[in-house]
Symmetry: C2
Subunit: 215 residues, 2 copies
Amino acid sequence: MSATYSIIIADDHAMFLDGLTSILSEEKSIKIILTAKTGTQVLKYLRINKDEKIDLVITDINMPEMDGVALNQAIKFEFPQIKTLVVSMLEEAKKIKQLTEANANGYISKNAEKTELLNAITNILEGDNYFSPRIKQVLMEAMFSEKSSPEIALTKRETEVLKLIAQEFTTQEIADQLFLSKHTIESYRKNLISKLGVRNLAGLTRYAVEKGLLA
Amino acid sequence: MSATYSIIIADDHAMFLDGLTSILSEEKSIKIILTAKTGTQVLKYLRINKDEKIDLVITDINMPEMDGVALNQAIKFEFPQIKTLVVSMLEEAKKIKQLTEANANGYISKNAEKTELLNAITNILEGDNYFSPRIKQVLMEAMFSEKSSPEIALTKRETEVLKLIAQEFTTQEIADQLFLSKHTIESYRKNLISKLGVRNLAGLTRYAVEKGLLA
DNA sequence: TTTTATATCACGGAAATCGGTGATAAAAGA
DNA sequence: TCTTTTATCACCGATTTCCGTGATATAAAA
């Protein structure tokens, strides 16, 4: 890295943000332009300072207001020349997939060593992408498992009924709430059971909980 | 802080560890003796270097092998003169309570600002304890809520049955598995429903999932 | 030692779920 | 336009759950 690069860091954990800043401020070739706690702050800055040359935005996934995925999409749409590196605790295949689809240039875990972080940054600034081996593996597994277990798509109504079922309402009560026949709800219940491959109410409830339908 | 203090930092997230190290190495009065990724590494070091004066151990809660709570207990038992500061993402009342019972000298969130971190360290090194306002609040709430909603204690058998219920087994199947009468399992089911204040199988399942009985 | 908690079993009836096999109309997609 | 999906409703029988009201023996606690 011979030239000087301008970067922005976004993370809602102040201490991690400070830590990252501290680590990177040791690098002479890196100039930290801004540190932010939300994606919106970053976007706001970029829009106001359109002419400033920013090379890289380092971001977490979990942030209030606007999360890492949305921030990535926005940056790549409005400022496609800016590279992005996601640094997160999460190793959820879904999120990682969303990020690759949003054209993030790299993804490393917060578990990563300092050297890997610097390595990732160097790679990205030089035009390559960087995804840690572990992340690549998660992505691969996700792609395979996706084929073996095709996404179970529930309709709006099915989701609605499932939610109520998991909330301990009986068929009759759900029918009353939705102004539908008891038989209709029974149909949904049966369809859900066979669609989701579960045996009973317990299975439906677990599915609902795991998919975060209750909150 | 006039004198020089010797501290040890333990956190399994390398980047956070690096960040923290980086922040603290700016402080002239602080000398970082060791950084470790597990509690056992810290203890091993302390045992070998019995005569070295260590003032403070900064630790995360979630670590492999030996977590922050266990590390705290061990340190306070074997090296009671060493102060401890817990820096964690978690704000679970249970963990925090355990830590206060293990005589940790301070607890701050990873969301805390750098200034709060330094403030906490200074306080602790000077002999005070430091718990951030947010943490104090969580502790208070926990103490109150404990009285208002007494812990629902399930017996071994009840837990066992509940687990199987949530795993979609019918009463008869559970009875067969545990070599008990179908009536017995029915009793457990009824007791569980009234004990946990839920209405049906869905409620039982949700409770089981939320308590992490399935894994 | 007396009381309480735990673990076990039993009956009966009402209510709900489960499983199969339908139908119809409207909306969406090819 | 034709086909598929979605949303709705219906019947029936078997199984399961839910609810109340019990009992007994043993272990733990007061």
